[in-house]
Structures are given as structure tokens and as C-alpha cells.
Amino acid sequence: MTLLTTRGLSKHFAGLHAVEGVNFDLPQGEVRALIGPNGAGKTTLVSMICGRIAPSGGQVIFEGRDITALPAHKRIMLGMAYTFQITSVFAGLSVGENVALAARRRLKGADVGLAVDDALARVGLLERKAQEAGDLSYGHQRLLEIAMGLAQSPRLLILDEPTQGLAEGEIAEFKALIRELAGKTTILLIEHNMSVVMELADRITVLNFGEILAEGTPDEIHANGEVQTAYLGNG
């Protein structure tokens, strides 16, 4: 079953075609990586999917329902979650309260506390629950951002460059976490780290100049000459 579909999705910024006519299908349960050079339109595309920015044209369909006109907060309530590329936690609140804000949208009472502890344990931040989020290291703030996504228990989890700024060990833990989620949660992952992409993704979509350049399994993409020229380099 297809969880998410876009048809002819476009975004123009004053003549610049950031995203142009993207037809994208994401089946339920898949881990999909979205890659492409800087400025290829990856963040713009997922921002239109989750409603942060309005498209110039085209449609977004989630679980068979046209959600193009739906505001972001209502899309989130349908079961999307989006973690920010630039770390965007609530610096003045405690780590636990950050995750609780995410959990409280679907849970009440004691269940919130359980969901918070569970999400924090999964990213390894449970012992820092009472700490102020602004005091965390950059890598830990990235993990907190992911924990907030987990606490939302989404159908579709959109991760925008989640491993940026993480140490090697943290990246390994991140991979393990995604493998654990795979199958239950559909994941759309924007990522620059090729080892993360190649190891985690079921399929990869390559974006270049706002259009889909190629789509396929990691092996197919790895062997694709066009992709190598556009993105991986031909050295």
C-alpha cells in the first residue's frame, strides 16, 4: 500500500524552480533515502509534504487523502512527524519536557511519562531527562530531536539530515535505532552520509535541480552513471 504520493509537486521562488513536477511514491513500511547535491530541493520537497511551505503546484496525497490544502499541524495529527535539519529543540525547557510536548499531542496523563522515558531511552538520553535542553551538546540535541519524533509515534517519520554533527559512535546507534523502527514506521530520510544511506535505505530517490534524477535500490543507485556524475562525483 502507498502511504504517501506526490503528483506534479512544484515550488517556485521568484522564478527559481526549487522543486519541479515531482511524482513521488512511498510505500508503507519502507525506509526511503532522499539524496542529492546541496540546493537540489530536498528540504523544500519534504517541507511541502509536511506542510511547512505551500506548493506552487501539484498535490500531496497521504493514505489516499488529498492533504495539499491541510495546514501543517493537521498533517502532523494524521501521523506525520518532521525533525528539523537545523536543531530546533526548546532550549529553555528540560529534555523531558521537550519530548513530553511531542507525546502530549496523542497521549494523556501517565502514558505521557511512559512515552517520554521510552523515547529518551531509545536514543540514550534517559539519564539527561531533567537537564535543560540548551545545555546539551550539539550531537545530543540532534538525538533529542529524533526522540521528539519517536514520541509522536508517527506513521511517516521525516528525518532531515539526522546524523549531521553526530560522532561515529552515535551514528552507529542511530543506524541501529532506524533498523529497529523499519517495517513498523515508514521513514523518509534526507541524508548526506553515504554509509547511512547505503546501509539503511530500502530504496533511494535522487533529486537534482528540483527533479527526480533516479530512483532504485542502493545497489542500482550506486551503479547508476548519471547519479555518479551529478552527485557522487566521477573521480
Binding site: C50, R52, A72, H73, K74, I76, M77, Y82, F84, S88, V89, F90, A91, G92, L93, E97, A100, L101, A102, R104, R105, E132, M148, Q152
Partner: protein, 314 residues
């Protein structure tokens, strides 16, 4: 003691001290404190929007005056007794703040400040325009006989102090409860990072609207009580000065702290009161004190206390 119990103990303790003070204070300070408590209630309402939600309104005098005139005109022209008149003031405040919120919340930042300021000015001019009913700048006195609430004469100093304490205590405890409740946490999160809150699935507009109505209604409760307790309603309470006052009090006391509005109001009131006894240039002393405070305690008195002593202070 848990953080919550400590917070309730501290704020309950402040109310208990204020209760006890009425028996020992000399008449002059007794009267001052009653006035400060009513004005501090106004600041508590302002703080919910400014301190906790991060929306800087320059038009809260409109809500204060809506409460004052809703109550005052109800007594003066509809012949209401104080209880329904107070209620009318609250309803007026809720309606006016809800209406203004629907318009002003379409803007953010500086535009929000300007829109609220303009509407408050329009409200002020409206009061002057309908001078036939409102008595304009001159205002009108609410007679002693009209200020008897359930057989209690509110013009009596003791009763007045007690009424002010009930108002302030309710506003303070409500504010403490609100900011510790999930709804209040969302407001703080909106202040910290609005876009992130939206992407967690919260309706930002609905939350800001609710915050503005709560804030405006508390301001109106203070305005209505002020008119009733001190027996006067006048257009000067709707002027821009009364929009700036709560901002100053909250900044001095500590924006985003529950006790800050009271501390700020108390500090500013006595700063002006004491310095005017020393020199006629008392605003100079007040100004210097404000500059010093902004330099050395930019987060206000309670904000500084939170930074240095008690990180979890609500």
C-alpha cells in the same frame, strides 16, 4: 518536597504574608498595598501573554478599560448591583480581547505591537467620543451606596484590602496552575520556538487566541475591581500609559515568572512613592533605578532569582 509542592508553598506563603500584613500595616501603606494588589493582578494577566507566550501587546489598557467600563457603565446606566456589574466587566474584557486577538494575531512581532496599540488608542478615543455616557476624561465616581457587594461595603479600607487580596490571590494561583499545566507548557514552547510547536501538531493560532483571551479577561477583572474598589472610572485608564505600565512592571519583576508581576508592581509603586518624597524630580530617580536594573538584572528581579538560586522557579 517536589518542585510543584515547593512552588505552591512559596506562592501560598506570599498570599499568607499579604493576609497578615493588613493587621500590622499603617493606614497609608495598607491603602497602597490594596491598590498594588489590584494593579499586580493586571500585570499577572499581562504576563501570561507577554512573559509566557512571548507576545508583546501595547494595547492592554483596552482590556483593563473594558473591564472598568463594563462594570462602571453597568452600575451607572443599567442600575446593576456590583456582582452582575463585575461579571459584565469580565464579559466585556473577554469579548474585546477575543475580537482584537482575531485581528491582531494575523500579524507578528512589531506589527502585532502596532496593531494592538492602534486598537487601544481607538478604544480610548471611543470612550472620549461617547462622553455623554462615559464622562470622558473627567470620568465618573461610583458612589459608596453603589459599591456594596453582598452587604459588604467595598469603600471600607479593611473590606477593600480583603477584596483586593482575594482578586490577587486568585489571579496568582490561577497563573501558577496555568503555566504548570500542559496548556501553559505549550505557550512557553510557542515563546521559545513557534515553528517547532507547529510541527509537533499544535494549532498555534488557537493557543495564542486562548492566551490572549485569558490575559485580557484577567486584565478586565483587575480593571473592573479597580473601579469598584476605588470608586472611580475615567478615560485615563484607557490611555497608552496604562498599556505601558504592565509591560514595565512585568519587565522589572521578571517576565515569565509567576511572582514577577507583583514584585515589579510593588517595586515601581514604592520607587515613585519614596523618590517623590525626596525631590520633585522623582522620575529621574525612578529612571536611574530602571536603567540600573536593566543593566544588572535584565531578566527582572524574579528572573535573576531564578537564574541564581532556583532554576525551576515557575
Amino acid at each position: 518536597m517536589s518542585g510543584g509542592a515547593r512552588a505552591y508553598a512559596l506562592h501560598g506563603g506570599v498570599i499568607a504574608v499579604l493576609f497578615a500584613l493588613q493587621f500590622i500595616l499603617p493606614a497609608y501603606h495598607h491603602g497602597n498595598l490594596a491598590r498594588i494588589m489590584v494593579l499586580a493582578s493586571y500585570a499577572v494577566g499581562y504576563n501570561i501573554l507577554f512573559g509566557y507566550t512571548g507576545l508583546l501587546s501595547l494595547g492592554h489598557a483596552l482590556f483593563f478599560a473594558a473591564g472598568m467600563y463594563g462594570m462602571g457603565l453597568g452600575i451607572q446606566h443599567l442600575g446593576l448591583t456590583p456582582a452582575p456589574a463585575l461579571l459584565l466587566g469580565l464579559v466585556a474584557g473577554a469579548l474585546v480581547s477575543g475580537g482584537l486577538a482575531l485581528l491582531a494575531l494575523r500579524t507578528t512581532g512589531v506589527a502585532f505591537m502596532i496593531v494592538t496599540l492602534m486598537f487601544a488608542q481607538a478604544g480610548y478615543l471611543t470612550i472620549l467620543y461617547f462622553g455623554e455616557y462615559t464622562r470622558g476624561d473627567e470620568g465618573f465616581v461610583i458612589q459608596q451606596a453603589q459599591r456594596v457587594l453582598w452587604g459588604i461595603d467595598l469603600s471600607d479600607a479593611g473590606n477593600r484590602y480583603f477584596a483586593a487580596l482575594i482578586l490577587f490571590g486568585s489571579c496568582l494561583m490561577f497563573s501558577l496552575w496555568l503555566v504548570r499545566a500542559p496548556f501553559g507548557k505549550v505557550l512557553v514552547a510557542i515563546r521559545e520556538n513557534e515553528e517547532r510547536v507547529r510541527m509537533l501538531g499544535y494549532d498555534i493560532f488557537a493557543h495564542k487566541l486562548a492566551a490572549m483571551v485569558i490575559s485580557g479577561t484577567i486584565a478586565a477583572a483587575a480593571g473592573a475591581s479597580y473601579g469598584l474598589l476605588f470608586g472611580y472610572a475615567g478615560a485615563s485608564f484607557a490611555s497608552v500609559q496604562y498599556s505601558i505600565f504592565p509591560l514595565l512592571w512585568v519587565l522589572l519583576g521578571g517576565a515569565g515568572t509567576v511572582l514577577g508581576p507583583f514584585i515589579g508592581t510593588l517595586f515601581m509603586f514604592y520607587l515613585i512613592d519614596l523618590s517623590s518624597g525626596v525631590t520633585t524630580a522623582y522620575m529621574l530617580i525612578a529612571g536611574v533605578a530602571l536603567v540600573l536594573l536593566t543593566l544588572f538584572a535584565p531578566q527582572g528581579l524574579m528572573g535573576e532569582l531564578r537564574r541564581r538560586v532556583w532554576r525551576g522557579l515557575p
